[in-house]
Amino acid sequence: MSMLQIWLVQALFIFLTTGSMGQLLDPCGHINPESPVVHLGSNFTAVCVLKEDCMDYFHVNANFIVWKMSHFTIPKEQYTIINKTAASVTLTDVASLNIQLTCNILTFGQIEQNIYGITLISGLPPEKPKNLNCIVNEGRKMMCYWDPGRETYLETNFTLKSEWATEKFADCKTKRDTPTSCTVDYSPVYFVNMEVWVEAENALGKVTSDHINFDPVDKVKPNAPHNLSVSNSEELSSILKLTWINSNIKNVIRLKYDIQYRTKGASAWSQIPPEDTASTRSSFTVQDLKPFTEYVFRIRCMKEDGKGFWSDWSEEASGITYEDRPSKAPSFWYKIDPSHTHGYRSVQLMWKTLPPFEANGKILGYEVTLTRWKSRLQNYTVNDSKLTVNLTNDRYIATLTARNAVGRSAASVLTIPACDFQGYLAESTCYLITVTPVYADGPGSPESIKAYLKQAPPSKGPTVRTKKVGKNEAVLEWDQLPVDVQNGFIRNYTIFYRTNIGNETAVNVDSSHTEYTLSSLTSDTLYMVRMAAYTDEGGKDGPEFTFTTPKFAQGEIEAIVVPVCLAFLLTTLLGVLFCFNKRDLIKKHIWPNVPDPSKSHIAQWSPHTPPRHNFNSKDQMYSDGNFTDVSVVEIEANDKKPFPEDLKSLELFKKEKVSTEGHSSGIGGSSCMSSSRPSISSSDENESAQNTSSTVQYSTVVHSGYRHQVPSVQVFSRSESTQPLLDSEERPEDLQLVDNVDGSDGILPRQQYFKQNCSQHETSPDISHFERSNQVSSVNEEDFIRLKQQQISGISQSCGSGQMKMFQEVSAADAFGPGTEGQGERFKTAEMEAVLDEGMPKSYLPQTVRQGGYMPQ
C-alpha cells in the first residue's frame, strides 16, 4: 500500500515536471525509448539526445549529462557517451516495477537542470494459462475459467476462443475484474464437440493455452431439482417417500442423483447409496429410518455418466416417519407400604416414561396386569407412571406394557414376593442375582450376576466327538455341559488322546471353546480321545471316543491322479501331433505306398477324364506336406519369371518327345521308369493335392525299391541313364520343388499325356525335361549324356535357383540338337499348343486330337 503511494507521488511528480516542461518550454532533448516496458530482471539501455541550441545556450555537451533514477543519481560507470549530443545509461537487472528515469544536465558546472524524463515499466510476459475448463449452467451461457499463471505486473488481456470443426465463434474477452473466466455470449449446442482455448497477451508477449475439445453436454451443471416433498407411509414406519420435479434438462440427458438426509437437529448428513439413485427419476423412497422421527432431506442431480457438474442442492424438505409400536416397556419396580393391615398390603408400582426412541410415537397409556399365584388376573390402565394397588400377602406377578396409536410394547415382568418370603439357597446350584436401582422417580436398569453358594466338580464329563478327521489332524467338538450338571463355573477342559500303543497326551482348552483341532496326528492310526471338564473344585472325565485317521488326505488322490492324467493326455496329444506332422516320414518307413500294378490301366489315364480342378489354385502350391511355407514362397517367386521365356522351348521339348516317342520307345520307357511321380496332372489335381505327399514319398520308396528290389522294377531297369535316379535320390527336395512349381503351371497336361504314353509310370516333370532333351538329341547320345551331367551338376549345386537353371539348360539342350527332323513344323505345333493351352487349359480334348495326330508319326 505504501509502495503504491510512493509510486503515485512519483508519477505525479513526473507528470508535473514533464507536463510543465512540455507546455512551458521546449525540452532541451529527449530520451529514447519514450515509454519502455521491460522484462523484470533484464537490462535496459536508454539514450538521452540533447538539442544543439540548448547545448550552445547552456554550453554543455553529452559529457554533462547526469542520469537520475527516482531522484537518485545513477553512477557514472553506467553511462556511455555516444557522441557529443548523446549519452546512454544501462540499468542492469531491472527489479522495480515502475522506475522514473530522468536525463539532466549540469549547467554552469553545478546546477542540475532536468531535460527529459520517462517512466520505465517492468513486468513479465504472461504464462501459459492452465487448467482451462468450462461449465454450462443449464439455461444459461457457457462460462470457461482457467488458471492464469504467475502475476505479470502488466495489463494482460485474456481472450477465450471457441470453434466447431466447421465454424468459428466470436471471441470472448475477459472483463477487467474477472481475468480468469469468461462467459461466451451464445448458448452452446449440446452434442456437437467444440474446441476451446484461451490466449493471454500483454506488452511482453502472447501465449495460448492448450486446446480442450468437449461436448458442451458433458459440462452441464443442471438446475437443482425443485418442489421437493416428503410423505410417510402408514404401513411402514421406517420409510419416507421423496418426490420432486426435475429440471428441464432431463428431456435432453439422463440424470443421477445425490440424496442426503439427517434427523432434525443433527448436523451430519447421511447419504443414500449413489447406486440406488443412478438413473433419471422423480421420486425415491428412503428406507431404514427410525419411526416417529423427523428427517430433513435435500437432493441434487447431475448427468448420469458423471460428466459435468453436480447441480446445487435443492431446498431442504422434512417429514416425520409414521409411528411404530413401542420397542420395549419401561422397567419397573415396586414399593411396599410397611403399614400393612389385615392380610393386605399396599404396593406401589412405578416406572419411568419411555424415551422417544423407544416410545416410537405418542404413548397413550400403560397397562399393568397383576396375577396372583395360579389365580385371576387384574388389569389396570394407567396414564401416569405409577400405580398403587392393595394386594394380599401372596406372591404376585406384575406385567407392564406401553401403548401408542399403533400398538403395545412387549411386557416387562416383575415378581412381587409373598409377604413371608424366606430365602433358601442350595449348594452347587446356579443362582441369577438381579439388582435393580430404585430412584425417587422410578427404577433404573437392573444388573444381574450368576453365583454359586458352593461349587462342586461337574457330575458328568463332556462328550467329545469328531467333527472332521483329516490325514494328520482331527477337529473335535463337544457341547457345553448343561447347567444342572456343571455344579460350578467350568474353568477349563482337558483333552486326552492316545494311540493304541502310545502315551496319552493332554491338552488344556479354555472353557469358552466348544471345538479344538488336534494336529500332527499320524495317518491311518486309531486314536482314543476323552475329555474332562473342571470347575474350581475338581473335574470329571467324559466317555472315550475313538476315531481313525485316513491314509490319504482329502483330495490327495485327486491331486496325484489328475496331473498324471493330464500329463498323459498332453503326451498323447503331442505324440499325435508329432505323428501327424511326421506322418509322411512314418508312412515312408512303415507302410510305403507301393503301387499296385494290377490296378494300373491305360484306360485310367484316359484323356477323356474331365478336368476337375483349377490347377492355378494356391492350395496346390502348398500341397506338399514336407514343405515349409518359406520355401514354397521362394520357389513361387523364382519360378514365375523363367516360365514365360522358357515356355516355348519347353513346349518344344515336349513336342519333340512326343514326336520321338514312337521310334525311341526304349528311351521313353527309361524316362518313365525314372520318373517317380505317379500323378501330377491337371485332370486329377484334386486327388494329387490330397496324396501328393505320399506320392513324393513313393518316389523315394521306389528308388530304394529300385536298389533293393531289383525285380519289381525290372522292366524299367534298362536305361542308359542313371542320373535322373541319382538325382532324385540325392535331391528329393529339388524334385519336389520342381514338381510343385510345375504343378502350378500350364505344362502339366502334357506330362499327363506323356504318362499315358509311358504306360504305368508317370514322368516326373523335371526329369522328363531331361528325358525330352535326351530324346531330342538322341541323334548324338554321347553329347546328350554330357549335357545331362552338366544339368545334374547344375541342379545339385544350386537349390534355390535350380528350377531356373534347369529351364536354361533345357533351352540350351534345345539349341544343342539342331539335327532333329521337322523342327520348324514342331515349332509351329508347339506354338499352337501353347495357344490352345491358354485358351482351354482344362480340357484334354485338344491333346487327344494332337495325340491322335502324332500317333502316325
Binding site: V189, Y190, D215, S623, F627, T628
Partner: protein
Amino acid sequence: MDLRAGDSWGMLACLCTVLWHLPAVPALNRTGDPGPGPSIQKTYDLTRYLEHQLRSLAGTYLNYLGPPFNEPDFNPPRLGADTLPRATVNLEVWRSLNDKLRLTQNYEAYSHLLCYLRGLNRQAATAELRRSLAHFCTSLQGLLGSIAGVMATLGYPLPQPLPGTEPTWTPGPAHSDFLQKMDDFWLLKELQTWLWRSAKDFNRLKKKMQPPAAAVTLHLEAHGF
C-alpha cells in the same frame, strides 16, 4: 481338406499367442480408433435434442403466426412448399437406402432447411423468438457439421451443392401474408418430420456400426502378431 504341418503349427502358435496376449489386452480393447460409432451416437442424440428444441420453438412460433396456424388440428394442404425437401418416403425405399445415400439425403435436406430457416429468422418478431430461432439455427448448423463428420469418418464425400439450385429465401411481394405464413408452417412441419426421420436414420446406422464380437477377436489377433 488338406491339412498340413505348417497349418497346424501355425494354428497352435496362433492359439498360444492369443492366449498369451489375452490378459494383456483389455477386455474390450477400444483404445484404438473408436470408429464412427461415437459420432453417430452423438448425431443421434443431437437429432433428439433438436426435436425437443423444435417442439417448444414451433409452439411459440405458431402462436406468433396466430390462428389458424396454432390450432392443434390445423392441417392445410401442402401448397407452395414444393421447394422444401420431403422427409416422407416409402418404407421399403427407406429401408433399402445405403449408408451413403442415407447420410447424403440428410445432409442435403438440412442444408436446404437451414437456408429457409434463416429466412424465417429475419422475419421473426419478438426478441425472445428471434433468440430461440438463432439458437435453433446454430444447433442445426451443428447437426450439419455432425453429419459431415460422420460422412468423413465413413469416407463418403460431402454432396456439393449445385450452383444453380442453391435455395434462396424470397420474401417477395408475390406471396400474400397468409401464404407466407403457410410456408413457415410447412417449414416447421417438415423440419419436425425430418428430425423424426433422422433419429430413425441414425439409430439404424448406430445399430449397424456396432462392432460385432468377431471384430474384437480379429483385433486381438492383430495385436498378437
